[in-house]
Symmetry: C2
């Protein structure tokens, strides 16, 4: 069944974004009587299309299964469009809770005035990936920020480091318990600048190694989230 | 240091493919005296550029660190260009040994006469990804084949199944020992056709579930290989 995130709930009817209505009509070519799922305010509803697809009637509320994933915040560099899009789509698919882009020294992409447009585009990618992978919420996307702001976050904090050789991600996960929030910093191509890494370490971020493989920057978040799914799954 | 796969070793000189020479001259803009690494016949050499970049002189042989990854064969459907390219690139980065494309019932892409050209293109992607991720060999890419041929392979055989609910990938890995080769079948969008899955099960392929997340087809091989790296890493 196709899932959408609702814009508004009006009594027994659901209102969707124009883009989703277009998707229903032109991409999915649905007909009156077809059913869709709509998530709004953390609740999931089974709905029915009626009235030449103009009305979306709520049939009943459905139970939302609890996600086994912890609260995962990914801190990533601002990257070129294609890499950024891939990370946002795949991280959403794999259950990330929050994504925070940071201007890092070695990241070549400057965002400047285009930030508003970029955020809009990135949010759209995450909304579509959430619908496609049947998530019950869209991950939060924060505005581009600095490492100083990141140090204020609470949780278990790690850096995917290219300098660390001993403390593997596996050792780290197997020896860390009793945490609900995990904050994971991923550096740009070539890794974090050493001053940035030192600064984070001074603020209780723990460097871990993902092993000897040389991965492209966009592979790292997918790798990390795959492992978290694997470890947290019953 | 930049790594290339050599075409031929002539006494103390190395010959590269024209595409790699172009990369050295026009993309990397190297100069005489610059060093590169060249892999040929499973051996790794440190080389020196000379004579207006026309000659590649072998300086010495380097030790190749042993890969911790087991022999991993991925069996995948033939997919649309973008998804296929992503799988080939990422699977190579993450240490796959062999990739076998199979014509599956539910895969929408028919390959037909274009196979030769496609294989050439796919091999090129895997060569470049191997160089970029400093691998010591390029994974083998087989021609498009059938499930009947796949059943002849030896090794521990699994199906990433959308039907299986109990036997998780984690349980499977934790209870399977004493194997050197792992053959992993990944289905197309919507999963394998039931007849195909039954056929494979009759030939000792074990269905496993990757959990409740709904992943796009191109995410699955990255997910699986990430976990294998994580599990096999010391």
């Amino acid at each position: 069944m196709q899932r959408y995130f609702g814009k508004e709930k009006k009594e027994n009817n659901m209102i969707l974004e124009p883009g989703d209505m277009h998707h229903i009509k032109k991409v999915m070519r649905m007909k009156d009587g077809d059913e869709i799922e709509v998530v709004i305010d953390g609740k999931l509803f089974l709905c029915n299309l009626k009235n030449n697809l103009e009305t979306i009637v709520i049939k009943k509320e459905l139970e939302i299964p609890k996600d086994f994933m912890k609260y995962i915040t990914l801190v990533i560099p601002v990257l070129k469009e294609q890499k950024m899009d891939l990370i946002l789509q795949k991280a959403t698919e794999l259950g990330v809770t929050e994504i925070i882009p940071v201007s890092m020294k070695r990241s070549m992409v400057k965002i400047g005035e285009k930030e508003g447009k970029k955020l809009e585009r990135w949010n759209k990618i995450m909304k579509e990936a959430s619908e496609q992978s049947m998530r019950n919420c869209i991950p939060k996307l924060q505005s581009v920020t600095t490492f100083s702001e990141i140090t204020k976050l609470d949780g278990l904090k790690i850096i995917c480091s290219t300098r660390e050789k001993e403390n593997t991600f596996k050792k780290f996960l197997q020896t860390s318990t009793n945490y609900d929030k995990l904050i994971i910093v991923i550096g740009p191509e070539g890794g974090l600048d050493i001053e940035e890494e030192n600064f984070l370490q001074e603020h209780k971020f723990v460097p871990v190694t993902l092993g000897p493989r040389i991965m492209r920057v966009e592979t790292v978040p997918i790798y990390v989230l795959s492992i978290l799914n694997y470890e947290y799954m019953e």
